[in-house]
Symmetry: C2
Subunit: 209 residues, 2 copies
């Protein structure tokens, strides 16, 4: 679990405002998560998420003092790109990134909660499917949904997945899941806060790809 | 066809050596080709190819005088990254880019040659499948091959595809195809030359993703 636990997300302040720099640092380790899934096909998803992060970072770098929080970025773009907003810039990148983050959150939570297919206890398909249905499905047209079902067959066994999360170390399943639970505390709070911000700013879109 | 014909590839010199700058300029319009396919799902392929081009350009920009030809780049990397080469840097990016270019070449050639499914003359599935089988299939594992077959259902009708290639102008199918044939002359010669170079330098790999 070192992979995740080495890169804990920060505590949110009471007003749930997210510091851009700390967020970018924490989230920059997320693409590695897709390596834990094993199969090469997932590297294309890793690139997509990497692209989101790169786009947000590029905006931040243009003026770190102006973009101290993620909300500063989204609000500035609402003014600067009034015509296309929110389907533009870092606002769009974060819109999609948060869905990928939510996917990971639900997948890990489902594993931590012990949800499983009793007939195939070493498969994670039920957990991946739950995460997909809640985080992404509604933003995907039928072609991408079908592609998901094909890609599901490349999902790793639970034992291999947990081992990869632990950077290949042989840890007991229960120890690994305890670490996952620990990781999920700040992570979930951060993802929730981004979703809340998108709702409050009316920045959410529901077009499908 | 303006889209393609506006951005003709250059004549190759007799020694078939490819000028890096001219190549990057011509190839930078290729990702737009994937917009002609219509469906959003193809934007992920556009990003992959864009990534290849960005990677090659980044190497070129580090020292344009040193990397005048594509071969200069591949040969320099063979020395600099002896351990990982050819699965590294611009050598890897160009290895994959040429496959995408070949895919487009075979697809357009097949349309120009009038190959079609007599029962569904307005579909391009036979042409896309031919291009896929010759250019990409052997580099894809069974999961990605299955994904291809799903994605095939998002391929546009021939009439819409040809219209998109002509930048949405209403041109006669025969005029559009004449332009495609014209485009293919230098384009095919360039792609062939890159393949030859990979063979000669022993830079080709056949791992699957
Ligand atoms: C050659 C043969 C094949 C032919 C193939 C055809 C096409 C294959 C298509 C595969 C789809 C792969 C998933 C990627 C989907 C992406 O299209 C979406 C939207 O992606 C967003 O799009 C925006 C514009 O609308 C901006 O460009 C965003 O970019 S911006 O930064 O520029 O603003 C970008 O992230 N992201 C998503 O849906 C996010 C996905 C997140 C993670 C999902 C985890 C799933 C794990 C599953 C485990 C079983
Ligand atoms: C959330 C739900 C979904 C879950 C989804 C799961 C995954 C979906 C996977 C879809 C696969 C899409 C096709 C992309 C495949 C790419 O993986 C490959 C290899 O890509 C290369 O990989 C290298 C490392 O091995 C380097 O990173 C290269 O990058 S580097 O520049 O860094 O060196 C990179 O281009 N490119 C390819 O196969 C090239 C494809 C070319 C064009 C094909 C046209 C096809 C048109 C078809 C029309 C019907």
């Amino acid at each position: 679990m070192a992979l995740l636990l080495d890169n804990q997300f920060n505590d949110l302040p009471p007003d749930k405002v997210i510091d851009t720099k700390l967020f970018l640092e924490a989230v920059s380790h997320i693409p590695l998560f897709f390596d834990c899934l094993g199969a090469n096909v997932f590297s294309i998803i890793k690139s997509d998420i990497n692209g989101n992060i790169t786009k947000i970072r590029a905006v931040y770098m243009k003026d770190p003092a102006k973009y101290v929080t993620l909300q500063d970025i989204v609000e500035a773009e609402r003014v600067e790109h009034a015509a296309e907003w929110p389907k533009v810039g870092a606002t769009l990148a974060l819109m999609w990134l948060k869905r990928g983050l939510r996917f990971i959150q639900i997948l890990l939570q489902s594993l931590a909660d012990g949800e499983r297919d009793e007939n195939n206890p070493n498969l994670i398909r039920v957990n991946v499917t739950k995460a997909y249905e809640q985080a992404l499905k509604k933003y995907h047209g039928w072609i991408v949904q079908k592609i998901f079902h094909v890609a599901l067959h490349a999902a790793p066994y639970k034992s291999n997945f947990l081992k990869a999360l632990s950077k290949g170390e042989e840890v007991k399943e229960e120890d690994c899941l305890a670490n996952v639970r620990q990781f999920l505390v700040n992570y979930t709070a951060t993802v929730d806060a981004i979703y809340e911000m998108y709702t409050n700013l009316n920045a959410e879109l529901d077009y499908t790809v």
